[in-house]
């Protein structure tokens, strides 16, 4: 039965819903796969075998009773990033601060997955509080890239993407604040989508940077991501920033795109997202992808987004500022870690010592950066200026989308680097997100889809597709068309494994 783990979510759903296999068998196959490979990959921080099987059995019982599946993905298991709360199931955010915490409530995304009959296999590894691009900032040790276990799986959602590439799960949920879904997708040759800001509820998503955070779907195919996106998307009254508008037909867009006709679609190549600092193999893969889009009938033009060059700087003021406030609640008073509560320390000292012990270096760095940027006398120069840049970048996008339907760029400037290579150089690490950050600042939708392997190191490269806010369906149409024309990339990993 182990070949069940090689199927796409859409294929698994069909087999389960037609009674060819049970959801419990599918879930068990993935739990077995996790048991077999996760010692090497370390995609999971917590595996909830019982919970997943219980959901699967409930789906099976429903189907056996002749009822229609509760959702197109009913019975198809999933890996959930450990930044989304799960009632009664550990949620650590990759931090020691929350070790052992059992949330008393489900995130809206978690609840929608449960209601859709999606078994949650477990919680995936991540950079602490989603701050990082390699999972090396996890307090529980890094995740390893299935393409090369010595290399990073991307971050912060490295666990979710690695679980897909290692065939431990057919679907995963990530969150993307500056690229944390798309960059891991790119470096593992999987698909990841950052929906329009407000498209998926943030309720129960432990906040890093509230105005940028967005949960989204991860899969091995564009259609799988679309099916999952439809399950988790939609208005949530518990999230004031959630958009109260219908979700476009995403799976239909993916199926339409897979027919391979992009006639009438205008694609813009962002001039500013290439050049110095981009690996040769990444740029060649990107050029090939653009040529492929033309072959599919798309009209390709170059567009300029002059303020994208300031995106990284603006991001590293806005995100730390918000994080310095969001993470203030971890004070040892109501939940989570508490140290030095021995009667000899004041409440203030317990707070301070707990935060000293509970947070890792990168989190502390960003809390300090943000505290400084918001300080009286510095606010206008830092936070205020960053917000102005944000407005300019949003205008760049708006102007570009006057001319074209989607924008494309490489997802990351380089292929996955070695674990440990950049841990002591935060600025080099931050550059990983240079292509992905503009979409977070503007709040529009973006996807990373595999564009092959770099010709110089044989490692995965991602094509980023960006669409206007609320036009997430364009990502799926263009992404699916490209995917169908290009052919599968992840299969090469199977060939590599077999050759070993």
């Amino acid at each position: 039965m182990s070949d069940l783990t090689r199927l796409t979510a859409a294929e698994l759903a069909e087999k389960i819903h037609t009674g060819e296999v049970t959801a419990a068998e599918v879930t068990q196959a993935h739990l077995d796969r996790i048991a077999a490979v996760d010692g090497d990959v370390h995609a999971f921080l917590h595996v909830d075998a019982e919970g997943a099987l219980e959901t699967a059995r409930a789906v099976d019982a429903d189907l056996a009773a002749g009822r229609a599946p509760v959702s197109p993905l009913a019975g198809v298991p999933l890996a959930l990033k450990d930044v989304l709360t799960t009632r009664g199931v550990p949620t650590t955010c990759g931090s020691k601060t929350l070790e052992g915490w059992l949330p008393p409530y489900d995130a809206t995304v978690t609840r929608r997955l449960r209601e859709a009959g999606v078994p949650v296999l477990g919680k995936t590894n991540m950079d602490e509080f989603a701050m990082g691009s390699s999972t090396e900032n996890s307090a529980y040790g890094p995740t390893h890239n299935p393409w090369d276990l010595d290399r990073i799986p991307g971050g912060s959602g490295g666990g979710s993407s690695a679980s897909l590439a290692a065939y431990e799960a057919p679907l995963a949920i990530g969150t993307d604040t500056g690229g944390s879904i798309r960059q891991p997708a790119a470096v593992t040759a999987t698909v990841g989508v950052k929906p329009t800001y407000g498209g998926v509820s943030r309720y129960g998503l432990v906040a890093f940077s509230s105005s940028l955070d967005q949960a989204g779907p991860c899969g091995r195919t564009v259609l799988d991501a679309a099916l999952l996106h439809e399950v988790i998307a939609g208005h949530d009254p518990m999230d004031a920033t959630s958009i109260d508008a219908p979700v476009p037909a995403l799976a239909d867009a993916a199926r339409e795109g897979a027919r391979g006709d992009l006639n009438g679609v205008k694609v813009g190549v962002v001039r500013e997202l290439s050049g110095d600092g981009y690996q040769g193999g990444v740029l060649r893969s990107f050029d090939a992808a653009v040529a492929q889009l033309k072959e599919l009938g798309a009209e390709v033009v170059e567009v300029s987004c002059p303020h994208f060059g300031y995106a990284l700087s603006a991001y590293y003021l806005i995100a730390p500022s918000e994080c310095s406030s969001n993470l203030a609640r971890f004070d040892a008073m109501r939940y989570g870690l508490r140290v030095a509560d021995d009667g000899s320390h004041s409440a203030e000292e317990v707070m301070s010592l707990t935060r000293e012990e509970g947070f890792g270096a990168e989190v502390k760095r960003r809390v300090m950066l943000g505290t400084y940027a918001l300080s009286s006398g510095y606010y206008d120069a830092y936070y205020g200026s960053a917000q102005k840049v944000r407005t300019l970048i949003t205008r760049d996008f708006a102007a570009a989308f006057e001319q074209v339907d989607v924008l494309v760029s490489p997802t990351t400037p380089v292929t996955p680097f070695k674990l440990g290579e950049k841990v002591d150089d935060p600025l080099a690490m931050y550059l990983n997100d240079i292509c992905s950050i503009p979409a977070n600042l503007a709040g529009n939708a973006a996807m990373s889809v595999p564009s092959g392997l770099s010709d110089e190191d044989g490692l995965p490269v991602g094509l980023q597709i960006m669409a206007p806010a609320l036009a997430d369906d364009r990502l799926y149409r263009v992404g699916a068309a490209y995917e169908a024309a290009r052919g599968p990339v992840l299969d090469k990993l199977g060939e590599l494994e077999a050759a070993k």
């Binding site: 989304l84 709360t85 949620t91 955010c93 929350l98 915490w101 949330p103 008393p104 409530y105 995130a107 943030r202 309720y203 129960g204 998503l205 432990v206 906040a207 940077s209 509230s210 105005s211 009254p237 518990m238 999230d239 004031a240 920033t241 500022s321 918000e322 310095s324 406030s325 203030a328 609640r329 971890f330 004070d331 008073m333 109501r334 939940y335 004041s346 409440a347 203030e348 707070m351 505290t371 918001l374 300080s375 009286s376 606010y379 936070y383």
Partner: protein
């Protein structure tokens, strides 16, 4: 700990200095639910029972603005003659304190929902003073800490602290005045009159319980002095823990006399927070911090801006009730009151209570008499405000009705009211429990007494005029009418009571 401060004689203070006041009033709205979550907004409750992931600041939880609270905020702004912002946001005020679950307070900073208004305040002698309003903004309340052990009852030096988050997230409106200057010796009175007027207004609007004793209306009084002829304001102190209208006046007056003594002695006032001490009417310095707090305000990213439409604001404007002082003027005309009678009503804080009692069916003269006299004395004896007495206008109206129908005498009625004030139940329950009702025989007798009095109005007037012996004629008439079966002594008592001579 406390050292007795030097104080200057008040007459000298106002001769040498001009006081400048700034009043910050926090009002807890009486919405059904909290500001940003669905938890009940109610006073009391077992600790930590009105809580949820949102108001406990659980990881991942998000706020959603309570629409009714925004509506109340706009209505309050309109009633205070403020401009209403066409677009405004919440901000985060960042500081660490254990009773604040998120370690930031969601508040409004530089974009208040209402700004630039005024409130006309009527002083005891009828003079009207206009107090300018700087802003009214929305925010959330904190939880409550109980510090156990240690000398001060504050967190510093406590052995341990208990936290109750029931109040965390309760909607607050903070109303801030512009500097109130030029009031001279009347400054403390103006402060009290302002808070009183604000309380009456908010109560008339039914947006808050406005109970100072329960903290649903809290006043922080900023006081500074400037020497006569000076152009710049002096350094101010902010006095908190002012829990009654009387305390507002006392606190301002105390700070004026304390500041003056310090300044006259060549000293300088330290800008600090002080706590009013109800027991002796003094203020004491709070714990001083070495560094100024930097709240690192920034717009709350979890909430979307509030942009009230013109139509909505106009609709809300139509719901603003008549201003309490305008209503008083109207009542004076309607009830034909002299200025003195109106002043008694106003000074005792009885206007709304009398009106409500009239609405409940009582004659205005009876209602006025009860509230201004007997109940006002009761409030003084119980050291509380008239409005905070444990009796409702409807209950007073019931007592008046019972007197009118002869089921209670005035004397018994007072005992019934005492019982209600003591929490023994409503008037009928008190009558039942204390066995206070006029014996049933009396009601038959009373009819005969009333008939006899009506038949001989000249005699009745004589008795009323003090000729008690004239009652004999009426007693005789009643005895005749009841065929001698009545108790003559009781009949005599009833006659005297009936004409008000008892």
């Amino acid at each position: 700990m406390t050292t007795t401060a030097e104080l200057m004689d008040y007459a000298e203070v106002v001769e040498r200095y001009d006081p400048v006041l700034g009043l910050e009033v926090h009002v807890e709205l009486s919405t059904k639910t909290k500001m940003f979550c669905g938890c009940p907004n109610s006073f009391g409750g077992d600790p930590n029972t009105h809580v949820c992931p949102v108001c406990l600041g659980m990881p991942g939880a998000l706020p959603v603005v309570n629409g009714t609270a925004v509506e109340s905020a706009i209505r309050i702004g309109l009633a205070l003659n403020c401009d209403i912002a066409q677009w405004c946001r919440f901000a985060r005020k960042n500081y660490f304190y254990p009773d604040m679950p998120k370690n930031f307070q969601t508040s409004q900073y530089d974009e208040p929902i209402a700004f630039d208004g005024h409130l006309d305040v009527v002083l005891d002698d009828g003079e009207v003073v206009r107090v300018d309003i700087e802003r009214a903004h929305m925010e959330e309340d904190t939880g409550k800490s109980l510090h156990v052990g240690g000398a001060t009852g504050r967190i510093h030096g406590a052995e341990h602290s208990l936290l109750d988050y029931n109040r965390a997230g309760v909607p607050l409106i903070e109303i801030v005045t512009k500097p109130i200057a030029g009031m001279g010796e009347r400054a403390p009175e103006v402060a009290r009159a302002y808070v009183t007027a604000l309380r009456d207004l908010l109560r008339a609007m039914d947006v808050s319980d406005v109970r100072m004793d329960q903290g649903s209306l809290r006043c922080d009084a900023n006081v500074s002095l400037m020497a006569k002829g000076a152009n710049e304001f002096g350094t101010r102190t902010e006095t908190k823990n002012v829990n009654s209208l009387r305390s507002v006046e006392r606190a301002v007056r105390y700070e004026m006399t304390r500041h003056a003594a310090v300044l006259a002695d060549g000293g300088s006032i330290k800008q600090e927070t002080r706590h009013f001490q109800e027991a002796d009417g003094t203020t004491a310095a709070g714990r001083t911090k070495e560094t100024a707090e930097d709240y690192r305000y920034f717009p709350e990213p979890d909430l979307v801006p509030i942009a009230p439409t013109r139509e909505w604001v106009d609709q809300l404007r139509a719901t603003i009730p008549e201003m309490p002082w305008q209503r008083r003027k109207r009542i004076q005309d309607d009830w034909n009151l002299t200025d003195e009678e109106l002043r008694d009503l106003v000074n005792t804080g009885a206007v709304d209570l009398v009106a409500a009692t009239v609405d409940a069916g009582a004659a205005q003269a009876d209602a006025r008499s009860w509230w201004v006299q007997y109940l006002n004395q009761a409030a003084t004896a119980r050291e509380t405000e008239l409005a905070d007495l444990a009796i409702t206008p409807a209950e007073v109206a019931r007592v008046i009705a019972l007197v009118g129908s002869g089921e209670l005498t005035h004397k018994l009625a007072r005992q019934v009211v005492d019982g209600v004030l003591d929490g023994e139940g409503d008037p009928d329950q008190v009558i039942e429990a204390r066995g206070l009702k006029v014996v049933s025989d009396d009601s038959a007798l009373l009819a005969a007494v009333d008939e006899a009095l009506a038949a001989q109005p000249d005699v009745a007037d004589k008795i009323r005029g003090g000729k008690v012996q004239a009652a004999g004629a009426i007693v005789g008439a009643v005895m005749k009418a009841t065929k001698g079966q009545a108790d003559a002594a009781r009949v005599r008592e009833l006659i005297l009571e009936r004409v008000g001579a008892a």
